[in-house]
Symmetry: C2
Subunit: 321 residues, 2 copies
């Protein structure tokens, strides 16, 4: 069994091939730009790992993995337009560099290119793979719409937020693993357990993301700590704090959401700590992680085949950036 | 053989089925809104006609036709965002009614839904159909990028403009017919001739569009005549006028492009007429039409089967709105 880093290198070698023609230059320069910004390539490598859990990695898995990574980049480019985000991976976003119209089209052509790679898959369960890909793509869009809807609301329940994150973040990780499993010849039961492993892992991943933004070590985090707090972003932490804070703490937190005080991050973090949001978040992450592991254990293959997925899960949840 | 109007009714009956779930409400309301604005449904009916040219219409053709119509609406919604268009079919555009972000996502989910319908196609040549669909989708995006690039340029040659219109408008009509032909069991040669018929018909259609905007009968046209002139839109007519006008006519035309004079439409039309742009446009349309018909004639099926496509071509080119 190959580890994440080794499969990641194999994927990069495959993925660095030219995906786009030369003309129109502006359109495809924008597409090449976002892909060159890199990233951890977690999702495409999960396709390969999902395949390898059941059988040697098939060339179909590389095509499906490429489709997943192109889809992921499509969603990043369009989300950045909607969120008016200035930076992505420390660099100007596509719409900042190329304008909103070209960024919009650049997302569109990457989505179409994703289907081009899917169309190279020769697997007997091709229609099932496309169905799962489409369902996931739709869910990711729905998650983004819910996220935008929530921005306009004062109160969002934990369950609503959890549902939104499931759609916006977790299902793509889950589907990546399942598509790999289908290519690896897994049966329905095993596919479902792997999907649920990915979904819970995705949730734990997001909790860690939210946690690091508030409580990360500034030296290891690589980004400004407190960015979510400054932009009043709804996160697992804020949703929970608004749920459990009472009396003066609640009033102060609500007032801080309306303010741009110089020490806003510090004050919000104080309330978070008073309400034990940090401990709660670590427990929540642990809960999702355990649910993920229960599903991994139920997959009917030798334990030794599961090691690399378990290592990946541990790495993702203990990461400091 | 069924005529356009009869196939159009069959398509509408199939297409009126619910394409989207209830939630998130805003996202799917936006999608239902654009689809309810209607349109002539020329492209999906061309899928059915392309099929019927060779064999009885198969249920696959209805699914492919639905995919084509969803794709067409995806491109309209995204184009309207890029063009900052206030109206579509006389009604507020999606981004005006629902905001740009939801309009962007609404386009995205319609593109994904298009692939959902394609995935229902059971035909043996499924991969070929997806390949053609993807190629066409990419070309439509490239055409839109070229169109935007041209807006920033003073001089655009006839050849460049023709290439842009081919991508932005004609290839979708051509591919719709060819996908129908594939489903109808046509051989490669017949498929290619039908594609070329559609491509030339699409060009003729666009010339007529540009012609009507300038020289249409205001009572029959249904829109304000001269809209393209007022917005300095590059059209077949303007490109040609800039090509052939000389001396004072050219200077005046260039000055008018910089002006918002009250009688701008009238003055530009005078120059168009002086340069015989109207006659030229009718000849150009005729040229594309004849090229289309040459390809239709080369298709190896009984002439009687081709009648409805010929009627459609005549209708599209003689329409006054």
């Amino acid at each position: 069994m190959k580890n994440f880093s080794s499969l990641s290198q194999e994927f990069e070698a495959y993925f660095k091939a030219a995906h786009f023609p030369a003309q129109p230059e502006k359109l495809y320069d924008a597409s090449r730009y976002i892909l060159a910004l890199g990233g951890k390539r977690i999702r495409p490598v999960c396709v390969l790992m999902g395949n390898e859990l059941f059988a040697d990695v098939h060339s179909d898995a590389f095509n499906a993995a490429t489709a997943i990574e192109l889809f992921h980049n499509f969603s990043l480019v369009h989300d950045d337009i909607m969120d008016k985000a200035p930076l992505r991976r420390g660099m100007p976003t596509v719409h900042v560099n190329y304008g909103e119209s070209t960024a919009l089209l650049c997302g569109d052509v990457m989505l179409v290119a994703a289907y081009d790679y899917l169309n190279k898959v020769k697997n007997d369960h091709f229609h099932h793979i496309i169905h799962l890909f489409n369902k996931t793509a739709r869910e990711v869009c729905e998650g983004q719409q819910m996220d935008m809807d929530f921005e306009l609301r004062e109160v969002v329940s934990f369950e609503e937020y959890e549902k939104m994150i499931t759609l916006k973040t977790s299902v793509l990780l889950a589907a990546s693993l399942q598509i790999g499993a289908i290519i690896g010849g897994a049966g329905d039961g095993n596919q479902q357990h792997l999907y649920q492993f990915g979904k819970n892992l995705g949730m734990a991943f997001q909790v860690q993301d939210d946690y690091l933004d508030a409580f990360g070590d500034p030296e290891k985090f690589g980004k400004q700590v407190g960015g979510d707090i400054l932009s009043n972003k709804k996160t697992f932490l804020l949703i929970h704090a608004l749920d459990v804070a009472t009396g003066d703490d609640l009033k102060q937190l609500q007032a801080l959401l309306q303010s741009n005080a110089a020490n806003k991050v510090e004050q919000v973090l104080n309330i978070f700590k008073k309400c034990k949001v940090d401990t709660w978040a670590q427990q929540l992450k642990e809960q999702y992680y355990k649910a993920a592991i229960v599903h991994l254990e139920k997959i009917a293959v030798l334990s030794v085949r599961k090691k690399e997925l378990q290592f990946l899960a541990e790495y993702l949840l203990n990461r400091q950036n």
